[in-house]
Structures are given as structure tokens and as C-alpha cells.
Symmetry: T
Subunit: 70 residues, 12 copies
């Protein structure tokens, strides 16, 4: 039985809606190119302001995914 190894990617998901939606958007994008996504962690929440309002939410997350065993 082998021990699994995981790789961690850092991405920034964005949304005009809020924190939860930005996380979901970032993960949806990451899942287009990475397989075996296993967990995420929120590292930073920022955003742009325009006309005195939140124009977009930018949530930096780390995504852990299991590397395939060869």
C-alpha cells in the first residue's frame, strides 16, 4: 500500500457576489485542469472598489489535490 502525496495550488477566485461565490468560481475553474481535488483553505479576502462600492471580490485559496500513483 502506498502513501498518498498531495500537491497544493494557490489561486484567486473572483465574484461580484461575495466570498462564498468567489471560492466556488475559483474551484470550478481549477477543476477544469486539475483532478482529484481534495480540500481548500481560504488565505486572503480582498477586492476592488469602484464608485464607492465593491466591484469584485477576490478570494485567494489554496487547493490540495492528490497526485496519481504511478
Amino acid at each position: 500500500m502506498s502513501n498518498h502525496t498531495y500537491s497544493i495550488s494557490e489561486i484567486v477566485g473572483t465574484s461580484t457576489e461575495g466570498v462564498d461565490d468567489a471560492v466556488r468560481n475559483g474551484i470550478a475553474k481549477a477543476s477544469q485542469t486539475l483532478r482529484n481535488l481534495d480540500w481548500f483553505e481560504v488565505k486572503e479576502v480582498r477586492g476592488h472598489l469602484e464608485d464607492g462600492k465593491v466591484a469584485d471580490w477576490q478570494v485567494t485559496i489554496k487547493i490540495g489535490f492528490r497526485l496519481e500513483d504511478h
Copy 2:
């Protein structure tokens, strides 16, 4: 007049909905066994991913509650 003392518990609330809901779920659970809940702080936001989507949100919070005066 006595000075109050507060105790701090660390818990992880979870939700399939998002950050706010995970906090509320954790506090609802904590309020079943702790009295005089006074404040909370979010320490960490993580979650599990399944099929390239967020399966649950896990929000670590610290909860402060006032100790009874004896």
C-alpha cells in the same frame, strides 16, 4: 463588584451552504452545552472538495463565554 473572567472554546462549524452558515451551525451546537456566549472570532476557513465542487465548508471559530461568578 467582581471582575468577569471569560473562557474561550475553539470549534469547527460546518455547512454545505457557505461561511456564514457554518459559523451559525457551530454556534448553535456550542450553545447546547455552553452558557453566556459573548463573542466569536473566525480563525480559519477550509473545506472538503468532491467531484470538483465544495462538499462542505469548515469554519474554525473561537467562542468567548463568561464564566459564572461563584
Copy 3:
């Protein structure tokens, strides 16, 4: 062409609804007195508890705004 300078203000927005709403409330208030708001960062999420429930969400944010060129 001049280099811009930005100033950073730290505020706490509050809400009975959740994190996103507290951020928006804080920024709406800040935009009453500050111009050229450019970005924000969430620094801390806390709140008061009453009767074992979240009474309000308090989100500390830093707001960056561009200083006018004189």
C-alpha cells in the same frame, strides 16, 4: 507623469446578516467621507453573541484610496 500614492484606512463594518453584508456596510459608510476608494482587504471577522446566536457580524477591513495629486 506623477506616481500615485494611496492611503489605507482601517474600519469595522457590521451587519446582522453575515460577512459580505458587513463589508458592504463598512464601505458604504467610508465612501461618505473618503474619495477614490480603490481596494479593500478583510483582516478579521468577529461578532457578538446573544442568546446563543450571532447578534452581529463585525468585519475589520483595510480600505485603500488614492490621494489626490496637488
Copy 4:
């Protein structure tokens, strides 16, 4: 010979006098319910302000105490 294990509790001691007194108040309260208190660490110093003065000091401390061997 057994290896000892310690548990760590986090509390907030308060005082109208200052930092040292808030620590002592918190530890006095903790010693009513915990035995074998061994060490403490100050994690945070905050307080309430009223009428432009410090109304109380709130000092968050971690307290380590030795668990009984069974």
C-alpha cells in the same frame, strides 16, 4: 515512569487596574476549577474604553496544567 501530558485552556482575565492584575484575576478564577496549573502565556491585551478612558483591561492568556496520571 510515565511522560506527563498537559492541557491548555484559553481564558480572558479582566481588571480595572492594568495588565498584571487582569492576568492574576484570570488565573485566580481558573484555579477554582483546574488543578496542577503549571504555566501561562499572554496572547492578547485589549480593553473597553468609556468616556475616553480605559474602563477595563482584558488579557487573553493560555494556561497550561498537568493532567493527572490514571
Copy 5:
């Protein structure tokens, strides 16, 4: 009913006496120009040394104050 917003100012209070006194001096000064002071947090304790003794204590604090509702 409106949600309150708080602003946070960072100051350094000083004293020849010690930590508590430096905090009180800083807050006394801040209360000359800011209204509705609500809480403080100690961020850093430093000081100058002269002739191998503490010449002054410099305590960096953040002060939260409620913004007036317009």
C-alpha cells in the same frame, strides 16, 4: 435601525512608568480629538534605553471608535 461602523486609529502612547501608563497616556491624548472611543488593542511594546535603563516605554495600540451616523 442602522448598523454601526467603527474606525480604527493606530497610535503610540509613551510613559516613563510602564506599559499600563503608556496605554493610558496614549488614550488620553486620542480622546482630545476623537469621540466615541470604544475599545483598544495593544500591538507592540518597545522603549528607549539610556544609561542601561528604560528611558521611556512606547506602546503601540489600535483604538476603535464609532463613526457618527449621518
Copy 6:
């Protein structure tokens, strides 16, 4: 289906052998009184020195355990 809630306890495991053994000792002790232990995190590694040698290893860990659903 209910959302699980987890509680986090902070303990210090000790050993004369090394880091891994101190973690295992701390968890063995915790499992005498806590059920449903789920994960741990190492927060700090320290130790006492005697006669210029490591006398014991002290490893602070956080232990997460699932709260029973009532």
C-alpha cells in the same frame, strides 16, 4: 442530515524520545477522555535541557474531535 461540529483541544504531549513519540503520547492520553478524535496539528516543539542534553520533548498539538449529535 445534520452538519457535524468539531471541538478543538490543545494539549502538550511529552517524551524523552523525540517529536513523533511526544505526539503519540499526547494523543494516547487525550483518547482516555475524549471520543471521536479526528485530526491533529502540531503547533509548537519545545523541550527541557539538562546537562547539555534534551531531557524531554514537549510538543503542543491541537486535536479535533467530532461532537456527538444529540
Copy 7:
């Protein structure tokens, strides 16, 4: 003899040249509106990239200045 109090402002100075120049630009701007500038600390170094090159350097600094005694 009074104890001095200092206030801390956080700004972002920018430059197309590099870190040192961005600090100097930010301080030059701050000195237009603040008096008695006393010290600075660099908190963060970031920048925009365009066409695979650094388009500008953004250095966040805290500036301490002595408040006038009244």
C-alpha cells in the same frame, strides 16, 4: 514635562524604479499634509506586471509622526 504621543498612518508609495524610490515617493507625499514625521516601517512590497515586466512598485509603509502637544 509631557509624554509624547505618536500617530501612525499607513500609505502605499509607488514608483517605476524600485523599492527605495517607492518609499521616498510615499513619504514625500505624506509630508505635504503631515508634520513631525518621525519614522517609517515597510510592511509589504507588491507591484503590477505588464508585458512580463514590472510596471510599478507598490510599497506599503507605516509612518509615525508626533502629535502636537496642546
Copy 8:
């Protein structure tokens, strides 16, 4: 003579044995796909618990490797 550039990958190595073994397992896996591995740093030590015992150790490491010069 060119200046070298290094890239940093973040992975999680696992083991049923302990910290050192989890690091070695993670690096063995990484060396299957990355060349010129140069250094590593341990960022986090966690693990799963089952039946009140450590089921596996999960050690997050950053691995630095030299990019080839083209």
C-alpha cells in the same frame, strides 16, 4: 553568466511512521516529475486520528528547484 531562478512547489507528504518519513515520501514523489530539487522547508505538520491513534502523518513542505536556463 546568468542568475539562476528557482521555482517553489508546495506538497503534502504522508506516512504512517512519522514526520521524517512523511517528508521523505513527499520528496520521493516530487522527484518523479521535478528536476534539480534544491531545498525544502516544513510548513505544517498534521495528521488523521483513528481509534484514538495517529492513522497517518501529513507534512506540508515547500520544495525549491532550479529552473533550467534556456
Copy 9:
């Protein structure tokens, strides 16, 4: 309209000249393989010493780049 997602790469640029030059060297190298570079952040400044002098500067930076929309 789609929300953008950004990926973050961590690299170490080096230089015999200084901090600014090491950043520029690292970004020049990264731009050979990554497109749509958008921002960078300096995370760490280190270096090797030889004969009591700085032999090279090693600046760890995070680089954010926009992922292509598919």
C-alpha cells in the same frame, strides 16, 4: 460575462546587484513560460555570503497571472 480566475506561482529570483534586480530577474524568467502576468508580492529576502560579502540576493516572490477563459 465570466469572472476571471488567477493562479499564483512562487519563485525565487536572484541577483548579484540587489533586491530590485533580483525581482526583475525572477519575473523575466517567469515570463518565458507564463502568460498574462498581473502582479507580484515579495515574500522573503535572503542571500548567500562569501568572504564576508553578499554573493547573491535571493528574493522569493509570488506572481499572479490570469488564467485563460476556455
Copy 10:
């Protein structure tokens, strides 16, 4: 005119009285062997507990002192 260089020593001052006194005791001891002491910073406040009371305060400080020009 030469640029000064400072060295930083880390010490732990102790006291049965409180934080301020532990700092002063540590500095008094350091001034027996170091010259040109210039500033200090408090890094950590801990202490031993005996019989449910603070037995001693242990304050870790960094002390900066100017190196002599040769």
C-alpha cells in the same frame, strides 16, 4: 561619517512583581555586560504558576545596542 550598526540580543527577564519589573530586571542584567544599549522590544510574556498563583513573570525581550566603530 560612518553608518552605525546595531546588534540585537534576546533575553528573558524575570520578576515576581509583574511585566514592567521583569523588563527592568532583564535590562539591568544585560547592562552589566553590554554597552550602548539603545532600545528594547517585548516579544513574549509568560510565567510559572504555583499553588494556583503566578510564581514568576518571564518576559522575553530583544535589546538593540550600537556596535563600537573601530
Copy 11:
């Protein structure tokens, strides 16, 4: 009765074996020149990689030792 003062030295112990051994090697070396060693704390674990394997472990530790009373 005098209050003790402790000094803290920071060293890097190395080993080809693992974390525990690197700590022990560093302390063995430190004990050749320092007396009254009292405690240590692990601050960082790094290492060199060669041929895709750990060539050495480098563990940064702080060592506290009691200063002699004069």
C-alpha cells in the same frame, strides 16, 4: 533572593538522519561553549536536497540558558 535572567541563542543543528537528530546535534555543539542550558524551541525545519533525496536536515532552534549571577 535574585531574579534569574536568561539569554537566548539561535542556532541551526544539522543531521543526515532527521529532525530529532538535528536538534540533538545542535544542542551538543552549543553545550561546548554555553553553560546552564535550560530549554529549546524549534523555529524552522529545512534541508538540502541532492539527487531527489534529503541530503541534510537543518533545524533552527532557540536555546535558553541562565545567566550566572555576579
Copy 12:
């Protein structure tokens, strides 16, 4: 074959020119009394302001040097 041990010294180099020069000045001074200097890390960048301009740059660095084998 022995394992090397390194010691770490913390110093503050200063300059009227900028960050890089302050680092070089500090290392030049350190190399007058320490041998086998191996690496440095920048920990903090601060400075004094006079007349609204940077009067000097103060860069805190840690310097690692190999201890001689006896």
C-alpha cells in the same frame, strides 16, 4: 564526518542610501568580528524621518555563520 552547526546573529545595518546598502553595511560590520558567514535574511525594514525625508534606512537582518569544529 561531522555535521555542521550554524549560529544566527541578528543585527541592524544602516545607510542613508537605501535597503541594499544598509544590508551591505551591516554585513561588512559583522564580518569584522564573525568568521564563516554563510547566509542572511532580511527581517524588517525601518528608518528615521527628518524634515519629511528619509534620514536613514535601518534594515534588521539575521546572519548565519558556521561554527568551527573543535
